[in-house]
C-alpha cells in the first residue's frame, strides 16, 4: 500500500542469509502491525535469525511498543500461539468486565469510548490507546477508593487495545511437523494470523525435503528428486470456509502482499498467509531473490490469490491475484540448482518430473480458475460485539 514503506520497521538487522526471502515479509508485518502484535515463532530459520541472543532483530518504537515475541517447538507452535490468543481474550474480557463494574467511578463518556471503539482502523486503535491512557489516569486518581477492581484493571488495561497474534514459521512447521496443531488452531475459529514463510524445505537444518517441496526438486531425503507434488496447504485451510487464506509473493506483487496481510489482520477469525520465500536451498543467485519471486508467479509455479470468507449469499470468496501463466515452469526452475542437479544426474527422470511439475501447475491453475467463479457463504450467527468475538 502506498506509504507502507515509510512506516517504521520493528524487525531489523537480522542474522539471516544475504538475500533471504523470509525477512522482507517479517519487516513488512512489523511495519503494519508491529506496535500491537504478539509473535509465536516456530523453531526454524526465523527463530534463529529472530533470536541470535543476546541480540534480536525484533525491536521497539520510540514509545517502547514493539512485537512481543516468543519461540516454541516445531510441533506445538500453533497451539502455543493459540494460547496467547486465549490469554489475551481472557484478559480483554476481564478488563471489559472491570470497566463496566467501575463505570460509575470512571464516567459514562470514558467507559463508552473504551467499550464501543470498533478499532477497525489504525486511527481507531490510536484513539483506543488514548482512551486507555485516560483510564490509567482515572485509576490513579481513584487510588485506594477504586478498590480491588481498579487495582486489577490497572494490570490488564492494555488488553483493551486490539492486538494481533501472529503464528510464524516455515513450511517444516506448517506443512509437516506442526501441521496437526496448525489444523487444530485453524479449526478453532479463533482470531489468529498464521504467516508461513514457505521455503519449500527445512532450510535451517540443511535443506531436507518437506511436504512443501515441489515435485522434481532435489533435496536432502529426496536426492533423486521429489516424486510427489507439493501439498496445497491453502486448499486444506480454505475447506473450513471461515479461514482467510492468501498466497503471496512480495517480489511479484508487493501491493497484493500488503493487502493480504492487512486483510488477514482485519479478519476476526483465523487467517493463513503463505509467503513464497526464496532461500539458499533453492540454489539460486540470492541477489535475484525478488525477480525470482516474480518469475515464480509468471510461470504459474506460485499463483497469487486471496480467499476472503464471505457472509453474503452471493459472495465469491476466491480471488486470483496473478495473471494466466506466461512462461513455462521449466524456464523458471531452470535457474534453480535444486532442479538443475537432477537434469544433470538423471536427465530422463528430470524430464519426467519436469513434465509432471508443469502438469501440477496447469491443473492448479485450472482448479483456481474454477474456484474464482464459485459462490460460497460462511454460515454465521449475527455479528457479535468487538472484543467478544470467539
Amino acid at each position: 500500500m502506498k506509504g507502507s514503506q515509510v512506516l517504521q520497521p520493528l524487525f531489523e538487522f537480522s542474522g539471516a542469509c544475504a538475500g533471504c526471502g523470509e525477512t522482507p515479509y517479517l519487516k513488512l508485518v512489523t511495519q503494519l502491525f508491529g506496535d500491537r502484535m504478539l509473535v509465536a515463532n516456530a523453531t526454524g530459520c526465523s527463530s534463529i535469525y529472530g533470536a541470535n541472543l543476546p541480540t534480536t532483530p525484533w525491536s521497539a518504537n520510540a514509545e517502547g511498543r514493539g512485537p512481543a515475541w516468543s519461540n516454541s517447538l516445531f510441533e506445538d507452535n500453533a497451539e502455543f500461539g493459540l494460547g496467547m490468543r486465549l490469554g489475551l481474550d481472557a484478559q480483554g474480557r476481564h478488563a471489559r468486565e472491570l470497566v463496566t463494574r467501575l463505570a460509575p467511578a470512571l464516567g459514562d463518556r470514558l467507559v463508552q469510548a473504551l467499550l464501543e471503539n470498533p478499532q477497525d482502523t489504525e486511527e481507531q486503535v490510536a484513539e483506543q490507546r488514548e482512551h486507555v491512557e485516560a483510564l490509567r489516569a482515572s485509576l490513579r486518581d481513584l487510588g485506594a477508593a477504586g478498590g480491588g477492581d481498579a487495582e486489577r484493571l490497572a494490570t490488564v488495561a492494555g488488553n483493551l487495545v486490539r492486538q494481533g497474534v501472529w503464528l510464524i514459521g516455515g513450511d517444516g512447521w506448517a506443512y509437516d511437523i506442526g501441521f496437526g496443531g496448525l489444523d487444530h488452531v485453524l479449526s478453532s475459529g479463533r482470531n489468529v494470523n498464521v504467516l508461513v514463510l514457505d521455503t519449500e524445505a527445512y532450510s535451517n537444518t540443511g535443506g531436507q525435503a518437506s511436504k512443501a517441496t515441489p515435485r522434481g526438486a532435489v533435496a536432502k531425503f529426496a536426492a533423486a528428486g521429489k516424486s510427489t507434488g507439493k501439498k496445497d496447504l491453502g486448499a486444506i485451510a480454505r475447506a473450513y470456509g471461515n479461514v482467510y487464506v492468501a498466497q503471496i509473493s512480495m517480489g511479484a506483487n508487493e501491493l497484493q502482499t500488503t493487502k493480504a496481510l492487512l486483510e488477514a489482520d482485519a479478519w476476526p477469525g483465523p487467517s493463513l498467509v503463505i509467503a513464497y520465500s526464496t532461500c539458499i536451498v533453492h540454489g539460486i543467485d540470492m541477489a535475484t531473490s525478488m525477480t525470482h519471486q516474480k518469475d515464480a508467479v509468471k510461470s504459474g509455479y506460485w499463483p497469487l490469490y486471496r480467499f476472503r470468507p464471505s457472509e453474503g449469499e452471493e459472495g465469491q470468496p476466491f480471488t486470483p491475484d496473478s495473471h494466466t501463466p506466461s512462461i513455462p515452469v521449466r524456464d523458471f526452475v531452470a535457474a534453480e540448482a535444486r532442479f538443475a542437479i537432477l537434469e544433470r544426474t538423471d536427465p530422463e527422470r528430470a524430464h519426467l518430473l519436469s513434465d509432471l511439475l508443469q502438469a501440477d501447475a496447469d491443473e492448479r491453475w485450472r482448479y483456481y480458475e474454477q474456484l474464482a467463479g464459485m459462490h460460497r457463504t460462511v454460515p454465521h450467527e449475527q455479528p457479535v460485539e468487538i472484543g467478544e468475538r470467539p
Partner: protein, 336 residues
Amino acid sequence: MIDLTTRYLGPDLRSPMVASASPMNAEPATARMVEEGGAAALVLPSLFEEEILHEDVELNRSMEVGAGHGAEALDYFPTVEAFPSVSDRYLARLEAIKAQASVPVIASLNAASPGSWSTYAQLIEEAGADALELNLYRVAADPRRTATDVEASDLEVVSSVRSSLGIPLSVKLSPHYSSLACFAQQTVDAGADGLVLFNRFYQPDIDLEQLDVVNRIELSRPWELRLPLRWIAILRPQLGPEVSLAATSGVHSGTDVVKALMVGADVAMLTSALLQHGAGHLRTVEDDLTAWMEAHDYTSVTQLRGSATQATVDDPSAFERANCVSALHSWATTGA
C-alpha cells in the same frame, strides 16, 4: 532423374540441403526427425565455452552458498560426487546422434580462448563427428583492438584447431570483417576446408513496458539470403572449387536453394524455416528444387552450381558499385 548429390567438407551428400544448428538437432529424437525429413547432413548447435565455465561456476556456487556457516547444517544439498559438464553432455548427445544417423554429423564449437578451442575440437573428433564447424562469433567491441588484431586472433584460432584436428574443418564467419574477401582467403590458408556464410548475430531489442532487454532471437527472413548470395558469388571464383561453401541465413524455399547453388554454394543450410514449419519442410524444399531444375533443364546440382558467380567479371568491386547505382536508379524511377 535429377542428380542432387553435392560434396561438402569431404563426403558426398545426398542433396544440398543441410539442417544447420538449431535446437532441433540438439537431441537424438528430434535430430532423427530432421534426418528423416530429408536433411543431407546435420549441424549440431554450438558448444559454447562460456556455457561450460558458467554452469560449472554457477552450479557449484549455488550449491555452496551458506555451506559451513551455520551451526545446524554443514551444507544444504545432497552430496553429488560429480556432474556431467556441459561439454560431457554435448559429447554424449553427439555420440548418440552419430550412432543413429546415416548422414554426416557436423559438430559446432564456439570457444573464447585459443587453448580451449583445440581441446574441445579434439574431444568432438573423438566423439565421432564427421566434421567440425568453428563458430567465430565475436563482437569487436573493444576500441583498443584494431581490425588487424581481431583478424590475427581469429586466424590463430583457426590454425590452432586445424593443427589438432583430423576431420574436415569449416569456419562460420560474420559478414563484418573489414576486407572480407581477403579474410576469407586467409581463413582458408589457415586451414579451413570450408566457409559457412554468414553468422547471424544476436541483436537485442528493448521492451518499453518492462524496460528490459528482449533477448529472443528473431528467425531469419528470406531477404536475408541476399548477403550470403552476394558474397558467395564473389568468393567462389576467388577460393576455387576445392573450398566448400555453405549459404546460411534466409534459406526458406527450394528457389532459395537454387539461388545459393547458382552463386557457387555447395550446400544451403536451413534453420529458421525448419523451426517455423517443422522437419517435414525439407521435403517440400527438395521437391521445389527438383521441380525448378526440371523446368529449367538442369540435370544435376553440379551443373547448376556456380553458374551465376562473378567468375567472368574482371573487377567485382566495380561490378557491385555499378549494380548498386542501377538499383538506386530503378527505385527512384519506380517511386516517381
